[in-house]
Symmetry: C2
Subunit: 291 residues, 2 copies
């Protein structure tokens, strides 16, 4: 069994981007600039947002954090988005979710200029991705595809089972893995909470992508020998033995599944680090178009 080293691959990708930034600057262009909108003070959101800003700085991107109080009106938020859409100094921006209840996320997401939508959440980017057209692929699916690619995992004709049908992971992964390209050309099955015989379905997978949000859900008896296992879950499980009172675990029962699969992503250190790297990658894609 080989571990996907998400940290190392994430670093590799970020190093490549840092090099490209230097090159851009040498050529007289400004570095890529990512703006992040944060509304309110959700602790997890603040952590994510800070990590994104820090990651930008580390590779020489410019970044702006626009932090608004939770009571900001939707109109005001939309106006801010309009300004960012028009601001030529910003290559891409994201609106950290979730938003407070009085703001309609759908309206907000659809206000972002598709060419600056580096989260890839705008329906037009989702649609273009589904149609196989040039589009921003959102960070988690994009990061997973990158991981598969850099480990040179064979995908053509393989049976890929995607566990979970969320708009953020399961849905796009099921589309990406069947595309007529590499990575892709898989026979893809998308399984979810309503799937019967889910164990059997998982066991038929050559490539299993678990994004169902249930800690240690995928057990060894659900995995084919030699399968490639990608664990997208990040679940907090109470753990009195840890100082912080919990540990992070994926959707896969790592220890037992690792015994039988050929490749597996650890949690943490697998898909997670790829996500931020891929957001940076999307920002570079946006910046390249500006040059």
């Amino acid at each position: 069994m080989q571990q996907f080293d998400g940290k190392a691959i994430s670093k590799q990708l970020r190093d490549e981007l840092a090099e490209e930034v230097q090159q851009m600057v040498v050529e007289g262009h400004r570095p890529p600039h990512l703006a992040v909108i944060l509304v309110g003070s959700n602790a997890a959101s603040e952590t994510y947002v800070n990590a994104k800003v820090k990651a930008c700085k580390a590779i020489g991107y410019e970044s702006s954090l626009l932090h608004f109080p939770p009571e900001i009106s939707q109109t005001m938020l939309l106006n801010t988005i309009d300004e960012l859409n028009e601001n030529e100094d910003i290559d891409g921006f994201i609106v950290q979710l979730p938003l407070p209840d009085h703001i309609d996320s759908k309206t907000v997401i659809e206000r972002v200029l598709p060419a600056k939508d580096v989260d890839g959440f705008h329906p037009i980017n989702v649609g273009k991705m589904a149609l196989g057209l040039d589009a921003f692929i959102s960070a988690t699916p994009g990061g997973i595809v990158e991981l598969i690619k850099r480990y040179d995992i064979e995908t053509e004709g393989k049976h890929c089972v995607v566990l979970g049908r969320s708009n953020i992971v399961g849905g796009p992964m099921s589309i990406l893995m069947r595309r007529n390209t590499y990575p892709g050309n898989c026979t893809v099955t998308i399984a979810h909470s309503r799937t019967k015989n889910i164990k059997e379905v998982c066991k038929s997978a050559d490539i299993l992508i678990a994004a169902i949000g249930k800690p240690d859900y995928v057990t060894a008896d659900m995995v084919k020998e030699g399968a490639v296992v990608i664990d997208v879950g990040i679940n907090r499980v109470d753990d009195a033995s840890r100082e912080r009172g919990y540990r992070l675990t994926g959707d896969v029962a790592y220890a037992e599944v690792a015994e039988i699969c050929s490749y597996i992503t650890p949690v943490p250190g697998g898909v997670g680090p790829m996500t931020i790297a891929y957001l940076l990658n999307n920002t570079m894609i946006a910046a390249r178009k500006r040059k």
Copy 2:
């Protein structure tokens, strides 16, 4: 075995729409208006377009056929689209494909105002459909979903195998059948030309949707007893015994598969008639928003 009677269900849907048109007119609104752009003189396209215009008239819709010579410039075509986008007398319009080589279909499709894109081909409609948002679902997938619904076919937890990954049928069907709604909640497998053990995959289907474009491809040994079989193929096969020199056949070897499945669509007379009816349905959806 029961046959899906696409003709009858199509008529049912068109009758309902005709009734709604009458009601609209009684209430002092104008009837729905569909415009169709046709470029050049592809015989098949002319047939389709004429059928669409005729279907409009039959249920009291207004329709306009804009027929351009094959040498029309892309700019001129885009200008026409802009006019239709702005014309408040038109509820929806379609650009019949294929277009001549000097015109970029992608650019043309993306120029259509999403709110008038009753073909559902604009990436934003595809994306919204994928995200489970309100969107125009294109006519063939929409028609299939309607057929499943009106025959009250059980879908939840069923294994649906979609054969073919085209942007027009296989792709959207694989998304629609996994949605968290009825029809939907299927475990969906999308199989295609690169799928290994395709017979086995098809045989595991409770619902098999064949859209692979190969005449009589699905044979009895590929179908589970009692499966629901939907044949989207319309293939011309040489047949000297017919006056016109060919016959139409689907992707399913009808006679032998009909012996073992529970439901099956004939070709012609299954999915085909639903397609035009669903285009009319989309046009009504567009018109309702105008009222």
